[in-house]
């Protein structure tokens, strides 16, 4: 290794793109390379299950930066190239074609991979999809044919977004969720109730506490689903949204500590010197607990944070997480992290289909889900950022002035 070796960012996604931009903004002038296994330059994934798969947003509008930007910033993009081996001590990566590249410091921003259903229960049948990348969305889009039966397996945000797009295109959509209710892992019951009603009003069937026994195929292609209660549902296509797994295998093979993601400290450092991680693949300590965030906010902020850490000292990463989801005419905006909440307060909004759910742990506000209520989101986020105490009763009173409470 020499100090003239480049900084290498592995994974050409949201976190690498923001890390690269920040490295240049902070004055890093040396060689900088992004290596990604997808053929495309870094792009935004959120529209894949929303306006891109529905056909409303053209492909060229997904890209985070124009290609000219990478050239201007002297950032080398090596796309369609997988890093197959990381030699941590030797400061070297090996690409799929056998090329070896030295690095001075390295960022692992490898993202995550959707969980699939096991092959034994039909997970590998044709027309059983997951949505993670452009190629997935490009395969699903032409299958969204009006009148077709779509089975969405898993009632999380991505599954529900896909259900919304399909319902609006005139497909016959059923969502099955194994847990007692949709959004079980990520939101409180009132938020789930809101979205259940919303989907039902658009003709989507939601079956909660419903397990899948198997997907049944005909000539290798999905034809129906058998549920644990014996029901047979006809299915022309299925979208599986049952969570994601962090891409930590490259790190693990290199002897870097992993545990549900690549373990990093507040400075994005892995267990091995000069190797950092950020984004979906990184598992960091937040407010005393191991945390992985699967969001654009985290990819951007932790990617930028990693840039500072790659160059030297930085404080610990301490974000106020935020997230959004678009379904039909509803925009959901989330600030904070509701983990460990013990009560919620519902605050009605001022518009149709508008309300917010405020999560408390004891007397401390920890998160807000705002449906078509950007003011609640914005001001709630402000409260979380400032740490100013806020009384439950004040939030619950629809007449209270949020602006006054936040300032």
């Amino acid at each position: 290794m020499t100090m003239t070796a480049p900084i290498i960012l592995v994974g050409a996604g949201q976190a690498s793109a923001s890390c690269a931009a920040k490295l240049r903004a902070l004055g890093y002038d040396g060689a900088l390379t992004i290596i990604g296994d997808e053929p495309a330059a870094p792009y935004q994934r959120p529209p894949l299950s929303k306006k891109y798969v529905s056909g409303e947003l053209a492909r060229e509008r997904l890209f985070i930066r124009p290609l000219s930007w990478y050239a201007e910033q002297r950032i080398e993009l090596r796309l369609g190239t997988r890093v197959v081996k990381l030699d941590a001590a030797g400061h070297r990566v090996t690409l799929a074609d056998g090329t070896n590249l030295s690095f001075s410091r390295l960022l692992l921003a490898t993202g995550s991979t959707p969980r699939r259903l096991p092959a034994e229960i039909g997970g590998n049948l044709a027309n059983v999809f997951t949505i993670r990348n452009l190629a997935d969305a490009d395969t699903i889009a032409p299958a969204l044919i009006p009148g077709a039966n779509l089975l969405v397996i898993g009632g999380g945000y991505i599954g529900l977004e896909a259900a919304a797009v399909a319902a609006q295109k005139g497909l016959d959509v059923t969502v099955i969720e194994m847990a007692d209710r949709i959004l079980q892992r990520v939101a409180a019951a009132p938020t789930a109730d809101f979205f259940r009603t919303l989907h039902q009003s658009h003709g989507v069937t939601i079956r909660e506490a419903t397990g899948l026994a198997e997907l049944v195929g005909k000539d290798g292609r999905l034809s129906s689903a058998r549920l644990k209660d014996g029901t047979i549902l006809p299915a022309d296509l299925a979208i599986v949204g049952i969570g994601i797994l962090p891409n930590d295998d490259l790190a693990q093979a290199a002897g870097i500590a992993v545990e549900s993601g690549i373990l990093v400290d507040g400075k994005c450092r892995t267990s091995v010197p000069d190797i950092f991680a950020a984004g979906d693949c990184a598992n960091f300590t937040w407010r005393g607990q191991r945390t992985r965030l699967e969001s654009v906010q985290n990819a951007i902020d932790q990617g930028e944070h990693a840039a500072a850490c790659l160059l030297g000292e930085a404080p610990d990463y301490d974000p106020v997480p935020w997230f959004w989801s678009d379904q039909y005419e509803v925009k959901l905006q989330i600030a904070g992290l509701n983990r460990g909440y013990d009560s919620t307060v519902l605050r009605p909004g001022k518009r149709p289909l508008s309300q917010s759910i405020w999560y408390f742990r004891g007397d401390t506000l920890i998160a807000i889900d705002a449906m078509n209520d950007a003011l609640a989101y914005a001001l709630g986020k402000k409260m979380l950022e400032s740490g100013k105490p806020v009384a439950k009763a004040a939030i619950a009173d629809p007449a209270s002035d949020l602006k006054a409470l936040a300032s």
């Binding site: 935004q44 959120p46 925009k331 078509n372 950007a374 003011l375 001001l379 602006k403």
Partner: protein, 105 residues
């Protein structure tokens, strides 16, 4: 294609022709305008695409809609009378010549 000019905090100007129907956050990012960030990709959830519309153009760009108005509560730079979230302004032929001032971050 309407031409849009971004005036940066340091006085530098960047101009570009923008396809009709594209929003002015994505146009700024595509033309490497610093300080228009667009973290949420135009989903009205980040307020990092904040700009000040030049007074001469205020009538043509119009006022923020309700959700946008709410999101303007959390801009990093101070909110002013002509503050807009540029992801909510769509390029139209009538906006040919538009001038946007970009707050310095």
């Amino acid at each position: 294609m309407p031409k849009v000019t971004w005036v940066l905090g340091d006085g530098r100007e960047i101009s570009a022709n923008v396809a009709v129907g594209h929003n002015l956050m994505e146009a700024a990012v595509a033309n490497n305008v610093p300080d228009v960030i667009g973290e949420c990709g135009g989903c009205l959830s980040c307020a990092t695409c904040h700009v000040y519309v030049d007074p001469a153009w205020a009538a043509k760009t119009g006022k923020p809609a309700e959700m946008e108005n709410d999101m303007l509560e959390i801009t990093t730079a101070e909110r002013r009378e002509l503050s807009r979230l540029s992801c909510q302004i769509l390029a139209t032929e009538e906006l040919d010549g538009l001038i946007l001032h970009v707050p310095h971050n």
